[in-house]
Each structure stands twice: as structure tokens, then as C-alpha cells.
């Protein structure tokens, strides 16, 4: 089909065509992703293999000073006059050894079992009281083991660096070059290797507050760390893929909770994203309309609502819509029956979407106003001459243009809505609760379920499993959309 055929199709056929194309491309895209992933992994293995090979060849080729730095870090530097650098390496090595002996190894050694000694209670006959023997704490074992592993990896990098530096020095010496002095080193660090300086702090922050916790939580998905296995009272241990098996079908209640909540999450994300998007654009268009005066004032009316913190407005709305809240009181005065806004499943689901419109539309107005003004005026002009009405101009010009410009924004919005904690949690708390679900209600999203399992139930293993599932869904979604829209971003297009 060529472009002209496509353009002349009515909109519903276009939509069908697009969906067909998307589905047709889906295996291809997924295949591509797998291919890319495979390539990345194989190149990673190749890279590691090469590194290991150099590790041994350098050891064979290296002189005594280089060889020595395989065992005592920094010796290659110290023996060639790079005192500061050498001692820095040496200090790191000694720190690592002391750390491992005094702390790290003690935890790592317990990692395979996550502790065996349970906290024991025994009856002290003499004093007539219960006494306790302190046992292992699985949580601390896991946490500090992860920390030790991360530190070990960091140390390994430094170790390799130490060998490389030492070998470089050897080669430099062999060629009669001067071995770089500490001043020169610092100078290169601040010019050629400035990225090291700039990125060290941010990366440290990410490792401490994102990567380390993430490894810990991913590992927890493979344990039975739930409310009946809470350290220090009792231990938890590795259970392999049991949690995944349970949640994906092994345990009926869990599996039906997951599929039900996932289905609602997707429906919610679609509705929340598109109602906000389309209504926001319409409102922005209305404000931008030719005859309307005081545009700034109208816009401010809506935008001002953003300034009030979301949790305040949402809590107010929740009170407003409560069964004995003001709206139902007013309805009562009018002689109408009370409406179970937040306690009836269908009603609650509609209400969260409606309230989300109230919360979200001002943001869309804010963001789209500028873009709308950029749509070339002559397009509207010629459409008007061709006799297109306002609805036609909207669906044929405004919407396609906006979609084209804001696709990345829409994708982030969609993912953001899948994880829209505030609206759901503050408005309905996930309710109305359902017995079909495990500790969740009919408006719960995957994230709010995760939150409840973590904070209220302390079923950390399930929460982590759900977290990994959310991650997988998001990753696949982003990659597929990203690839099939073909809007692969061109970095440096403007540079």
C-alpha cells in the first residue's frame, strides 16, 4: 500500500490498518529486540574473555614489578616512583582485606543458606523468665552480602586498573618515556578524563540509592521473606522461582489477583492517558480560540489548581465523594438516592478516571498550549476553504499534528499512569476490597498493590516479584513502542 492509499482511507480503516501493521511488525520487533540483546550479551562475554586473556598475557609479559602488583597492589607504581598513586592502591587493598576479614566474609559465608540459627526461646528455671538466644538475621545477611559483593566488584575494577597502570609504566620505561608524575596525572584527570571526576558522585549516588537496593529487592523475589518469615524472630531462605510460579498460576488467588489487577491497570492507563490528552487539547484549543479574550486569565484559572498539592485535592475529593459526604448529602436534600461513588466497583472505577481528569487536564493545557500555537495557520486556512468543519479540522489536522510531536510525551504519560500511585491510593485506597484478590481491591493498580504488600502486609517477596513483573511489562512496552513508532531519537541532530 502506498502513502496516497493510506491517507485516503477513512479513519477507522486507518486505525485497523495501523493495528494490523503493529501486530505484523510485533514478532519482527520482538525478534529484533532479542537479536540486539543477544548481540549485547555475546559482545559482553567476548569483552570479558578478552580481558581475562590480557590478564594472563600481561602477567607473562610483565617484569617483576608488574608481576608483583598482581599480588600487592600499587607495587608497580611505588617501585617506579609513583609514590602517591601506589600508596593509594595499597591503601585500598589493605582496606579491602581488613573489610573482608572483619566484616564482609562473615556475611558472605551465610549467603547460601541465609542463616540457620533461629532465635531461640528457652525457659530459665532459676529466674522464672523466658530467655532468648540471638539467632541469625536473614535480612541483614542478604543486605550486607549484597554490599560486600558490590564492594568486591568495585575492588576488582581497581585491581585491574592497578595492573594496567603498572604495565603501562613498564612499557613506557621500556620505550624510554618518562613515567607520568602525579601532577601530570591530576592534570589529565581534569582535562582528558574529566568525565571520571564529573560522574563519580552521581554514579556513587545511584549505586547507593538505586542499584544496591534494587539488587537486594530483586534477590528477595527469590526468597520466602513474607509476613510469617520476619527476621529477627524467624529466618527466611531461598525458594528459587516459587514466587513467580505462584503468582503466574500456581496459586489460584494470587494468579487471579495478578491478571485482574493487571487488566485494570492497562484499562486505567489507556483511559487516564487519553481522556487527559484529548480533553486537555480541546480545552487549550478553546482558550486559544480567536474570539476569546483574556486568554491568560482563563489559563491561570486552570493552572492554579496544580499549585495545590495533589494529596490535598485528592483527599478532599475522597471526602467529598464518601458515602456520607457532601455530594450525597446534597443528593439527599434533592430527594435522590445516595450514590455509592467509591464503594461500587464500576462507579469507583469511573470516579477515579473522572477525578484524574480534574487533576491531569491542567497539566495537558500547560504543555500543549505552546505546541498548538506552533501548528502552521495556513493548514487551518486551507482546510476551511475546502469546507472542513471544526470536528474534521480537529481529527484531520490538530490531532495528527499533536500526536506526531508529542508521542514521546504520551509514552511517558502512559507509563506514568500505569504507576500513578497518588490518584488511586488517596482516592479509593484501591477499594472496594475484593475477596477474589489477595489483599487488593478492584481499583488497585500493580503499584498500589505492591505498596500495600510492602507496607501493610510485609509480604516483601510478593512485592518484589510484582516489582519485577512491572519492570518486565514496562521494559517490553517501551521497547516495542519505541521501535515500532520508528521515532528512534537522533542524538546530536542539533549539534
Amino acid at each position: 500500500m502506498n502513502y496516497i492509499d493510506y491517507v485516503s482511507m477513512p479513519w477507522h480503516k486507518k486505525a485497523v490498518y495501523k493495528v494490523k501493521q503493529f501486530l505484523k511488525n510485533l514478532p519482527h520487533n520482538c525478534g529484533n529486540i532479542c537479536k540486539i540483546a543477544g548481540k549485547k550479551i555475546s559482545s559482553g562475554i567476548f569483552f570479558a574473555g578478552k580481558e581475562i586473556k590480557t590478564y594472563f598475557t600481561v602477567f607473562i609479559k610483565g617484569d617483576i614489578r608488574t608481576k608483583l602488583s598482581y599480588f600487592i597492589m600499587g607495587s608497580g607504581c611505588i617501585l617506579r616512583g609513583q609514590i602517591v598513586k601506589g600508596f593509594a592502591f595499597l591503601a585500598l587493598q589493605s582496606f579491602y582485606i581488613v573489610y573482608m576479614i572483619s566484616f564482609g566474609w562473615g556475611w558472605i559465608k551465610l549467603l547460601p543458606t541465609l542463616g540457620i540459627a533461629v532465635k531461640k526461646e528457652y525457659w530459665d528455671e532459676e529466674n522464672q523468665i523466658f530467655r532468648y538466644i540471638q539467632g541469625d538475621n536473614s535480612m541483614l545477611i542478604l543486605l550486607f552480602s549484597v554490599l560486600t559483593i558490590v564492594i568486591t566488584f568495585a575492588m576488582l575494577t581497581v585491581y585491574i586498573m592497578n595492573i594496567k597502570v603498572s604495565y603501562h609504566n613498564q612499557l613506557d620505561a621500556a620505550q624510554g618515556k618518562k613515567i607520568p608524575h602525579i601532577h601530570t596525572d591530576i592534570k589529565t584527570l581534569f582535562s582528558k578524563k574529566l568525565h571520571f571526576v564529573f560522574l563519580s558522585l552521581p554514579v556513587l549516588g545511584i549505586i547507593m540509592f538505586t542499584i544496591l537496593p534494587l539488587i537486594f529487592m530483586v534477590l528477595i523475589a527469590f526468597t520466602n521473606y513474607d509476613k510469617s518469615h520476619q527476621p529477627p524472630g524467624s529466618l527466611f531462605t531461598w525458594v528459587g522461582f516459587d514466587n513467580f510460579r505462584n503468582i503466574l498460576g500456581g496459586d489460584k488467588v494470587l494468579a487471579s489477583s495478578l491478571s485482574g489487577i493487571f487488566g485494570w491497570t492497562v484499562i486505567w492507563a489507556i483511559f487516564a492517558t487519553f481522556t487527559n490528552y484529548i480533553l486537555g487539547i480541546l480545552l487549550a484549543l478553546l482558550i486559544n480560540k480567536k474570539g476569546i479574550k483574556l486568554k491568560k486569565m482563563w489559563r491561570t484559572f486552570f493552572v492554579v489548581t496544580i499549585a495545590i498539592p495533589q494529596f490535598v485535592t485528592l483527599l478532599l475529593m475522597a471526602q467529598l465523594l464518601a458515602n456520607s459526604g457532601p455530594i450525597n448529602i446534597i443528593l439527599g436534600y434533592l430527594g435522590l438516592p445516595a450514590v455509592p461513588f467509591l464503594t461500587d466497583v464500576t462507579m469507583a472505577r469511573i470516579m477515579v478516571i473522572v477525578v484524574n481528569i480534574w487533576v491531569g487536564v491542567p497539566y495537558t493545557v500547560l504543555i500543549t498550549t505552546g505546541i498548538l500555537m506552533n501548528i502552521p495557520k495556513d493548514m487551518y486556512e486551507s482546510a476551511r476553504i475546502d469546507g472542513a468543519g471544526p470536528i474534521k479540522t480537529f481529527t484531520k489536522i490538530t490531532l495528527p499534528y499533536m500526536l506526531f510531536v508529542t508521542t514521546p510525551y504520551l509514552i511517558t504519560q502512559f507509563v506514568g499512569n500505569m504507576n500513578n500511585f497518588n490518584v488511586i491510593y488517596l482516592l479509593t485506597g484501591g477499594g472496594p476490597l475484593s475477596l477474589d484478590y489477595y489483599q487488593a481491591g478492584k481499583t488497585d493498580l500493580l503499584v498500589t498493590w505492591l505498596y500495600k504488600l510492602t507496607v501493610n502486609q510485609q509480604d516483601y517477596n510478593l512485592a518484589s516479584t510484582i516489582g519485577i513483573i512491572i519492570f518486565a511489562i514496562q521494559a517490553v512496552l517501551s521497547l516495542v513502542i519505541y521501535n515500532s513508532t520508528g521515532s528512534v531519537r537522533k542524538e546530536g541532530k542539533f549539534q
Binding site: 552521581p202 495545590i308 490535598v312 471526602q319 503499584v447 549539534q495
Partner: protein, 285 residues
């Protein structure tokens, strides 16, 4: 003749436009107006079966700052202010460093780092919340304001892509010209990149500053029952529990209005930059 016709048509639809806008503004503004009105209401209680209060008073505001026995609002306000300033400073620095490096410098593993950042961003933030709590506890920092600052700003570098997208739109030719003129990387950063990307920087600064004022999830996990270190959001949230809501609802509204004032002011400043910022990062990134 035709022109008159058109004008008439225009006024017709314009009137309809005004009508719709008025109704919509009312829908959006009534809750806000109601919140402000309630903050001045004399009689207590969450909901009364009438709309306009029987009497007006400043007491809700005054009590908020003087009656600190149960809810220490002034303390929470200062806490939030401290956390907001500190985390805003740290996260802006981390974010700018990362964005600048990834946008302007070319080095080994750069692409890989960006991909890892993208992947890490796909894990839901709450998932590691508990782990972060355990880590802070192991560091001896749990339930402290410093912990909160670290939590808000520690991972700031992960949101590099918005700022980096903006930096990418600044032509590299400018840098190259500056290098020929003898400028160093730091001169380029301070004298060229920063002034040219003022909108996006203002946007990130304000966004980082606002986050602690409205978040109550991370605070509740980290502070647990340490009331003294609560931030306003979590503190206000406590006022709406079943046993407090009757007595404290009007104070809750007053407290909400007080945080809304600085946010509104900042928002007016930010509004100018918001549109440019979000779309620049998103579309061209």
C-alpha cells in the same frame, strides 16, 4: 454583507465558548475556593450540611503555629524547608554534572551507562523503598532528615535525560569555537552551557525543590513514628485520620493553603520554563 454574517457567527460561537469556559473554570476553581473558605471557617468538623460557614476566623492559622502539642506544624514546615533546599541543591548538582558529561564528552562505556540509566528508571520506585530504609538503618541514619535528603537526591542523576536532551540542542560548534579560543571544559560549562540552558535549569531546580513538599510516601516509610522529623505533607495527612478529622479539618485546610502559597509563587516562575523544558527534553532528546 458576507463579512457581517461571519462576524455574527463568530460571536455566536464565541459566546458558547465563554459559556463553556465559565462552567469549566467553576468546576476547577470551586474545590480551590472551598478549600480557602474552609481554612477560615470558625466551626469545626469535616463536613457540615450547609455550604457557607457560619463564621470566619483566623484562628485556624494561628493555632497551626501556636498549638503544637499534637501537630507540630512550624517544626514540620522548617523540616520540609531544610530538606527541600538541601535535596534541591544536591540533586541539581548531580543532575547537571551527569547531563553535561553525557551530552558533551565522549568516552568508553558512555552509551552503556545511558542504557543502564534507562533500564534502572523502569523499575518502580516503591519497590526498593524498603531496601533503602534498611540501608539507611544500617548506616545509622534512619528517621533523620539527612536520610530524607539522601533519598530525594541520591538517584537524581537518573533523570538526566530531560536536561541532557536540552544540552544536546546547544550546537557543539559553540564549544569548539570556545576551545579554539582557549577555553577549558569548566569555562564552557559555566560560561556557555549554563547561561544558554537557563530555562531547563530553573525547571529542574524548582521541580527538585517542590518534591519534598508534596511527597508523603517516602517520608512515611523512612520516618515511621518520629513525629518531630515529619514533613508537612505527612503531618497534614495525619490530621485526616478518623479520630482527628473532626477537630483538625479546618486546620488541615489552613495548612494546605500555607504550602500552596509558596508553591503557587514558584509555579508562576516555573510556568514560563515548564513548557519549553518538558517538550524540549521529550521531543528532541
Amino acid at each position: 454583507m458576507k463579512k457581517v454574517d461571519e462576524n455574527e457567527k463568530l460571536t455566536g460561537s464565541t459566546v458558547a465558548g465563554y459559556g463553556v469556559l465559565t462552567i469549566l473554570s467553576l468546576i476547577w476553581l470551586i474545590p480551590v475556593a472551598w478549600l480557602i473558605m474552609t481554612s477560615f471557617r470558625k466551626e469545626p468538623g469535616a463536613w457540615n450540611p450547609y455550604i457557607f460557614p457560619k463564621g470566619y476566623t483566623f484562628d485556624n492559622y494561628i493555632k497551626l503555629f501556636t498549638d503544637t502539642s499534637l501537630f507540630n506544624y512550624p517544626r514540620w514546615f522548617l523540616n520540609t524547608f531544610f530538606v527541600a533546599v538541601a535535596s534541591c541543591a544536591i540533586s541539581t548538582i548531580l543532575n547537571l554534572l551527569t547531563s553535561y558529561t553525557l551530552s558533551r564528552m565522549r568516552f568508553k562505556l558512555r552509551k552503556q551507562m545511558m542504557n543502564i540509566g534507562l533500564i534502572l528508571g523502569m523499575f518502580p520506585g516503591f519497590m526498593s523503598m524498603i531496601a533503602v530504609y534498611f540501608i539507611l538503618k544500617a548506616m545509622g541514619l534512619s528517621q533523620s532528615l539527612l536520610a530524607l535528603v539522601l533519598v530525594y537526591s541520591g538517584g537524581a542523576a537518573l533523570t538526566y535525560y530531560i536536561v541532557k536532551g536540552f544540552f544536546d540542542t546547544i550546537p557543539r560548534a559553540i564549544d569548539e569555537a570556545a576551545i579554539i579560543d582557549g577555553a577549558s571544559q569548566s569555562t564552557i560549562f559555566w560560561k556557555i552551557i549554563i547561561p544558554l540552558s537557563k530555562p531547563i535549569i530553573v525547571y529542574t531546580v524548582l521541580a527538585a525543590f517542590l518534591a519534598p513538599w508534596v511527597d508523603f510516601i517516602f517520608v512515611s516509610v523512612i520516618m515511621k513514628d518520629n513525629y518531630n522529623n515529619y514533613t508537612v505533607a505527612l503531618g497534614l495527612y495525619q490530621m485526616l485520620t478518623r479520630e482527628n478529622i473532626y477537630n483538625y479539618f479546618t486546620q488541615f485546610c489552613a495548612g494546605a493553603v500555607i504550602i500552596a502559597i509558596p508553591i503557587t509563587i514558584l509555579f508562576i516562575i516555573m510556568q514560563k520554563y515548564y513548557v519549553g523544558g518538558v517538550t524540549a527534553g521529550g521531543v528532541k532528546g
